[in-house]
Symmetry: C2
Subunit: 387 residues, 2 copies
């Protein structure tokens, strides 16, 4: 396994602690800071893969937990992997299932060996281990896999958080070993391309434990490092503090990924701390619920005042939705629960997020990120109309 192609991260420029970079995968380059649209069940809800390309998505995320339960990773392996199954030829990142076991399963039992959980679909019992998480991700054939972790809840005692991060370390080691046994279904390869594996730093809201977790994981050769166990109920300030403290501890030459966070204010703050990758259901889920992001703040499309409004949602936006449709039409589709509503809204929100990230990269490239952050923060905190 010495001559395999490994994931490369090129750090192009820093602006303060903010980083401009590129992740090179066999399926294409990911410009960082990167936003990763979420395609839980092998589809980014309502979008075609062509539309994802059109708006500039360079990588998508799929969920191991969901695909394991439905249609099953064996099915996807048989069909040639996730890329072929869903016809997305760009990079795919899969999570490990750790967070979903934590957030979706009605019952779970954690042991050193793994986690017993109940399916949120039919209540059936399953046992997820680091080895199985890697087997599933190998079968899916994602470009970037995540190590199976225990997502430390909030609140948790220091003692719990310590035991938990130590378990995550042990599991990470087992994932690394399992990955090197697997022959992942990577694209161009007959084994020449190794599935990249990222570890997840835990430690709750205790700085020294975050440091301990980071150091234990950094002693092993992962391709990137993620921050996990955040945005699980803790106050925002505490979350910011943890990100600000932990991020600089991570290796400069590897990609840093803040899992599940996509509020654009949080993103601005985390990019300033040196985070490179983000994923979140916010743009897609909000779109389906009629909350749209614009250059003037968030807008609820169902507002009565839009009933006869012939203007586009965001005059500054160049996306298909804003180029073609009025607020009145978007409102009508939303009120009528039309499928096209979810399509047009999702297209716009994802386009907005990807554009926002492009502008962040531009600002870092120009050494103007602090200014960009200062300008955008009040806008991103704003609801254009209070509901």
């Amino acid at each position: 396994m010495n001559n395999v192609n490994k994931l490369k991260f090129n750090l192009i420029k820093t602006d303060g602690s903010a980083r401009l970079g590129q992740i090179q995968t066999q399926r294409g380059i990911i410009n960082t800071p990167a936003f990763i649209p979420v395609g839980t069940l092998a589809t980014v809800k309502s979008m075609s893969v062509e539309e994802l390309k059109e708006i500039g998505a360079e990588i998508i995320l799929s969920n191991t937990y969901h695909l394991y339960l439905r249609p099953g990773h064996d099915v996807i392996r048989t069909l040639g992997g996730l890329h072929k199954f869903m016809k997305w030829d760009g990079p795919i990142l899969t999570d490990s299932g750790g967070f979903q076991v934590f957030s979706l399963s009605p019952l779970r039992k954690i042991t050193e060996e793994g986690v017993e959980f109940r399916s949120h679909l039919d209540g059936s019992t399953h046992f997820l281990t680091p080895e199985l998480a890697m087997e599933i991700q190998g079968a899916l054939g994602s470009d970037i896999a995540m190590a199976f972790d225990e997502c430390t809840p909030y609140p948790a005692t220091r003692e719990y958080a310590l035991t938990s991060l130590q378990l995550t370390t042990k599991w990470a080691k087992r994932c690394l070993e399992a990955r090197d046994i697997n022959t992942p279904l990577t694209p161009l390869d007959r084994g020449e391309v190794r599935q990249a594996l990222f570890a997840i730093v835990q430690g709750g809201v205790f700085k020294d434990l975050r440091k301990q977790s980071a150091e234990e994981l950094m002693s092993m050769d992962f391709d990137g490092y993620a921050l996990g166990g955040l945005s699980v109920g803790e106050p925002k300030d505490l979350m910011y503090e943890m990100i600000n403290y932990t991020t600089p501890l991570l290796p400069k030459e590897k990609a840093r990924y803040l899992m599940g966070i996509g509020d654009l204010n949080d993103v601005l703050s985390a990019v300033a701390d040196g985070i490179d990758m983000f994923d979140c259901v916010m743009p897609t889920r909000n779109a389906r619920n009629g909350t749209l992001f614009t250059s003037n703040g968030r807008v609820s499309i169902k507002r009565e005042e839009f009933k006869q409004d012939s203007s586009p949602l965001d005059p500054e936006c160049s996306c298909y939705t804003c180029r073609n449709y009025s607020k009145a039409y978007l409102r009508h589709l939303y009120m009528s629960r039309e499928i096209l509503s979810m399509r047009l809204n999702t297209y716009h929100n994802l386009h907005f997020f990807l554009e926002f990230f492009r502008k962040m990269r531009e600002a870092i490239a120009k050494g103007e990120f602090a200014q960009f952050r200062k300008e955008q923060t009040p806008i991103m905190q704003k609801n254009f109309h209070e509901d």
Copy 2:
């Protein structure tokens, strides 16, 4: 109103009673026999207008009743008409609301003046008259409007059917007068293009009453003639008999439209009788319910046997869905209730219908329609798998 452009129907060729023709509108040509996808609420469910063009839709239908209730025809008038609202620049046909009042309203009261009905959305009371139906359709700015009719139910006594058709005649006359007062929002025009108006032949399942209705309506100058009050519960044979009897009574030089019927066996039979236009929710509604049309009969995509089936839905189909996706993926999306499922299924079914109609036109052009019908009838009656 003498120098206005009127709808033109060119009869190109007949093959037996089957007709190959073209309807010329200011917004484009409709090749007949034509299938009209249904876009009830100013959107063909799950499809973009670009996708409709891509699969060769030449005209779509929107529902007067639905758009009157939501968002309201005044809203659409203010926004410049239906074409601008939904960004479809091809021809649009609107129905009159007569059928929906009959099929959707929980309560209705018919008088000579019009129909009082309750909204299926909120129970509010409304009064629809021929004049209002024309005002709504004028506000929508459709290319082809339908006269407001009473859809005679089945079963109905001869006496009821007679009174009903006479009412439809009176209403048709009032629609014609109202149309000539309206200034419809037609596209290219400042009044130079007149909204076309089709009358609807009623008469229940009584041949002489069908004849009477046709003759009364033909004594007025409509742009086309439709058969209504069919597929409302009567036996199929009786429906076929009515179509077979009534169609030849209609003017040869005008388009003939069989409303709301889209079962492809019924279509084959009606085309053989000389019908030119069809609309139906079948391809779109069935798509969302997982029933797909193929060159080998109907398929229920949820079948267990497709779980690992890497083959396309219909190997003979050239549509986006069949070119790109496996039955396994379509099944997975359907089982997961993903929005993309409705998109891919609808795209395929509409493509299948439009291709089927293209092949019918080709067969008529070659004088081989009888042969085509004979070949296709058993296939269209077939469920590839019985559920």
